[in-house]
């Protein structure tokens, strides 16, 4: 499916736009406040006006008031503004991405979506097709594709520096601490998807990107009892390469990746944007620092937002178009469909602990 979609995506002619962009920031939660809006403000050159969209108008107004150097308005719904904007950044809960993006794309509005592009591959494909039909850009904020270290790792894998890839181990976990404003991750059963959707959107996308395609799913185990999972363990394989991914919202893991090839090993930290180590088959260790040596989330958001604005203004192509993230989303879909429950013997003891009140 991915290959077919890539071929139907139109080769857009870059036609630089002269008038300032009217941009909607849809969803005024924590990530809009901490990253998207500051990046928009720092890269406001092509922007003439920003409309902040959120059902909580007070929240939208609060964030609008903090912006300077560019005109702002607020709205409660994207429907109120979709005829008046050129571009939109969608930072709502992922289950709403497709619902919001589709009518915007149909109107030719360029869309930059927070990761994951959609909760399901079916939604992602529909969005991609709609973007292709309307010749609007559909971009996705897969920030890791711009980590200097991870880009360099991809290059080394493609060059065969460590030979044939035999195994990849990716371990990523932090106590969930996102300062969510709405609590959408957990509140009122609004989402039944957890760490696999959240951190998995990075991990699975990175693996697909590194390997140049989607590995085969071997197994997926989570600790969900109907709500969003806090732990997910995924095993995959591609040719002779065995891949294990451990994700957690509930404990701090090593936050590392390790790629073993027939001629060497690459190891790095998922939190180090620029550095990793390369060990060759003679055991010689090389500490690699991919330029720029220092970068942080602000730099990465600047990169992605500036690129999106340039793309919307007809001056660039997206860093990560929607089609690029599809293999990772398809894989995530497969994981959720195949997921079985992790063994948790300490929960099996519960019925013996206490009889229900009668």
């Amino acid at each position: 499916m991915t290959a077919v979609l890539s071929s139907v995506e139109p080769a857009r002619l870059l036609r630089p736009r002269l008038s300032p962009l009217r941009v909607a920031m849809i969803g005024c939660g924590a990530i809009a406040e901490t990253h998207h809006l500051p990046a928009l403000e720092r890269n406001a050159g092509p922007v003439g006006h920003i409309v902040l969209v959120d059902p909580d108008l007070r929240r939208a107004q609060t964030l609008a008031s903090a912006l300077s150097g560019v005109g702002t308005t607020i709205a409660a719904s994207h429907e109120e503004v979709w005829d008046d904007i050129d571009a939109a950044i969608i930072a709502t809960p992922p289950r709403l991405h497709a619902e919001i993006a589709m009518p915007l794309l149909a109107r030719g509005v360029h869309v930059f979506c927070e990761k994951p592009l959609a909760e399901s591959a079916a939604d992602a494909i529909t969005m991609i097709e709609r973007a292709a039909q309307s010749r609007a850009w559909l971009c996705v904020n897969q920030t890791r594709r711009s980590y200097p270290a991870l880009k360099r790792v991809k290059d080394l894998l493609a060059l065969g520096t460590i030979g044939e890839c035999l195994s990849i181990e990716h371990r990523e976990g932090f106590r969930f601490a996102w300062p969510s404003v709405s609590g959408w991750h957990f509140a009122g059963g609004t989402s039944a998807r957890g760490v696999l959707l959240d951190q998995g959107a990075h991990a699975l996308d990175t693996i697909c990107w590194w390997l140049g395609g989607k590995p085969r799913l071997v197994s997926c185990q989570t600790d969900s009892f109907g709500g969003p999972e806090g732990v997910a363990n995924v095993t995959l394989e591609r040719d002779r390469c065995a891949i294990t991914i451990a994700l957690s919202w509930l404990s701090t893991l090593s936050n590392t990746y390790r790629i073993v090839g027939t001629r060497g090993t690459i190891e790095g930290s998922t939190t180090d944007f620029c550095r990793f180590t390369l060990t060759d088959d003679r055991g010689r260790v090389q500490h690699i620092e991919a330029p720029p040596a220092r970068c942080d989330y602000h730099d990465l958001f600047d990169l992605f937002i500036a690129n999106f604005l340039d793309a919307a203004a007809g001056r660039a192509v997206p860093l990560v178009p929607g089609t690029a993230s599809l293999p990772g989303i398809e894989l995530m879909d497969e994981c959720y469909r195949a997921a079985s429950r992790l063994p948790m013997p300490w929960l099996d003891t519960l019925p013996h602990v206490h009889a229900p009140i009668r």
């Binding site: 976990g173 106590r175 300062p179 609590g183 957990f186 404990s251 948790m344 602990v353």
Partner: protein
Amino acid sequence: MLQSADRVILVTGGGGFIGNRFAEVIHLSRFARVRVGVRRWASAARAARFSIDIALCDVLDPRQIASAMQGVDAVVHCAVGDERVIVDGTRNVLDAAARNRVSRVLHISTAEVYGSNVNGRVDETRPCTTTGSPYANAKTQAEQLVWQYSSRGLPVTIFRPSIVYGPWSDQWTAALAERLRSGRWRQYARYGEGTCNLVYVDDLVAAALSSIRSDRAVGEAFNVGGADIVTWNEYFDRFNQAMGLPPLEVRSAQRTKAKSIAAGAVRTTAQLLLARHRERLRDLSERGGWVSEGMKGLKRWMNTTPSPSELDDLYSRRAIYDWSKAQRLLDYRPAFDLDRGLRLSVDWLRYAGLLN
């Protein structure tokens, strides 16, 4: 008396180790309907896996408590934090519970209310005392508030567990496992020969929930302990064995003390640096690289060396918290001996990715 599985129990501090466990047990055993009160949404990740009722309930915010308390029949008050959270938060919860005429408040306190300078058998008649520990002092003040509300007619029961361990315990399972796995942890001769009053978390939960069914528990305080009486050195050793690690070496009392004092000095210096240069240090740490790794290494070293207060006030304390009152009035019997509790703890460590 709470008698129906349709009743609603609010668990404050539902994002924490013990509060979460109450919520899981209440939900999975269908003891009642549970509402998990969390201070912020980020604390809800563990409870949310069960797709259960979660409410924002910062115990310092009376409006949030009032909202979370709607339709509630009983409260398990587990919220804990700094002195303000423990004292003012407890007052706020008791106040809302009284206004809502809940049928019971279970207040999860601590055996630390008896102070650290105790020896021998300590039962519930032992007076609570203020000590040098801000945590223990705050819990003592919170208990005093509970008794005030009790005297005004609010049905309350207090539980005073000691060392609560088991799956999800940061302090007595995860952190101790990290210490043991570091290869630097030891048995500490006479500094580890104090009594480790362990209770498996499910035993505490079972004791507390059973009290809801008992009118005799109203207005009472209960110690809750486990099935085994072991020393701290023995706990370290048996936990170490349960994880399949090489036997723990024994460090002499003299070396134990010397190392502890050295680590204490480093810890104090680090705290001073942190207090003065917090932003700069955080920045360095977040940037990754070798400086960050060095800082992590230092932190690991400090974390794997016992502090002087741990050795003097806890690991060498020879007190046994007597839970015969819970046995007598609540028919409490610990269901988890140390071997079983440790097996389950180790299973959890593997699930959590904290042990291979």
